[in-house]
Symmetry: C2
Subunit: 233 residues, 2 copies
């Protein structure tokens, strides 16, 4: 499967996830409407996770110069960051105050994930504008930016899974929502969709390195320690 | 930070996690003892996640031939797989039967993670014993084994996070355990420890490729598409 099919597959999964989260948050429970409580999953899943997944994939499909790709990547990640901050903010709108939220694993994982994301964005932004930096400094920095970015993306997905499960467990134990019902099917489908999406996006992001080993002109080179080290052209 | 320090750091995180899960499952709640319910987190966190993390790191520190490393890796992952299957089996020991368990996102994510792990182990085992295979087939297969292995490891960590949160949310809403208490601190610490461990293990697993860019004799080569492709020596 090539890079283009993976991008298409990532978007199809993203579309299914978007439909499921909108249906769950806005349509499934009658007269629920747009509240702080329903805004949170919408902002986090669509605004943060789906938009940042699209930003990760920019380098795999957007034509144009490297500078254009980096600018679009930076803008999309900026939008994702604003959504994430706004999504956290919705949880501070209850009478209980800001600090009362930080009791659960979901909140701590979310805070860690958004903080890492913000740090990545700021360093990416600085690197983008500091054209004067030595090229070797920027090329040394790039693999770490890619790795930490994909780790943060995975952490955001894991945090979303804990949020979905926390909400459903709360409904099942406190509100007598049955364990097997339409709502639990939708939420579990959403959770499994996110697992699939993360796999597709991360594969698409790192694929080019591996893809070359299938091409006839390139070969896999082993280091003296007998571990895969490099794909040379 | 070199590969050796990362392996040490991974083991320290693993030790803290092991102490926390033993303390939570066996000592925190008086007279709880070793039941199917307490066996599940012990087998999944220590037997599955910590052992498979150790197996991932084998190639980073174990001296000896490539064959020895692969054999130890295979044995450790086999132990992890047995623990995982036994850990799932503990959940089938209640009166409600096997299928009643598969209602939550935790159960579906866990089933997916252990199935992927088993498939990886079987293909790894076959590749290990089929020495006659063309070397290029095995070298093509290796990056996918590494990638899918790390993805499965990440999924196992995410599943553990949902399990911890499910248990704590259930205790808080159904058993009136307060949101801020000694137990929630221990469980949240365990969850954040697992987030840290996954970051350290995955970094240690992929580091050698990136580490070389800091060395004077090697350089980062860009392809015509201006993306990082290869580290040549």
């Amino acid at each position: 499967m090539g890079s283009a099919s993976l991008v298409l597959f990532a978007r199809l999964s993203g579309l299914v996830i978007a439909v499921l989260v909108v249906y769950w948050a806005l349509l499934l429970v009658p007269h629920q409407g747009l509240t702080y409580s329903t805004l949170h999953p919408l902002l986090m899943v669509i605004g943060f996770i789906l938009v940042s997944g699209e930003a990760i994939l920019i380098h795999r499909w957007l034509p144009g110069s490297r500078k254009t790709k980096k600018a679009v990547h930076l803008w999309l990640q900026g939008m994702a960051l604003v959504s994430a901050v706004f999504g956290i903010w919705t949880k501070f709108q209850y009478q209980s105050g800001v600090f009362s939220n930080f009791y659960s694993l979901h909140s701590w994982m979310g805070l860690l994930s958004v903080s890492l994301f913000a740090a990545q964005w700021v360093t990416g932004f600085m690197s983008f504008w500091h054209r004067g930096e030595v090229r070797t400094t920027r090329t040394t920095f790039l693999p770490w930016h890619v790795f930490l970015g994909l780790y943060t993306y995975g952490l955001a997905i894991a945090t979303a899974e804990t949020g979905l499960l926390e909400k459903l467990t709360f409904l099942q134990t406190n509100k007598n929502v049955p364990r097997r019902c339409h709502e639990s099917t939708v939420v579990n489908g959403l959770g499994l969709g996110l697992v699939l999406l993360s796999g597709v996006v991360i594969t698409a992001a790192i694929l080019p390195k591996y893809q070359n080993s299938h091409s006839g002109n390139e070969k896999l080179v082993y280091s003296s320690q007998d571990r895969p080290k490099c794909l040379t052209s």
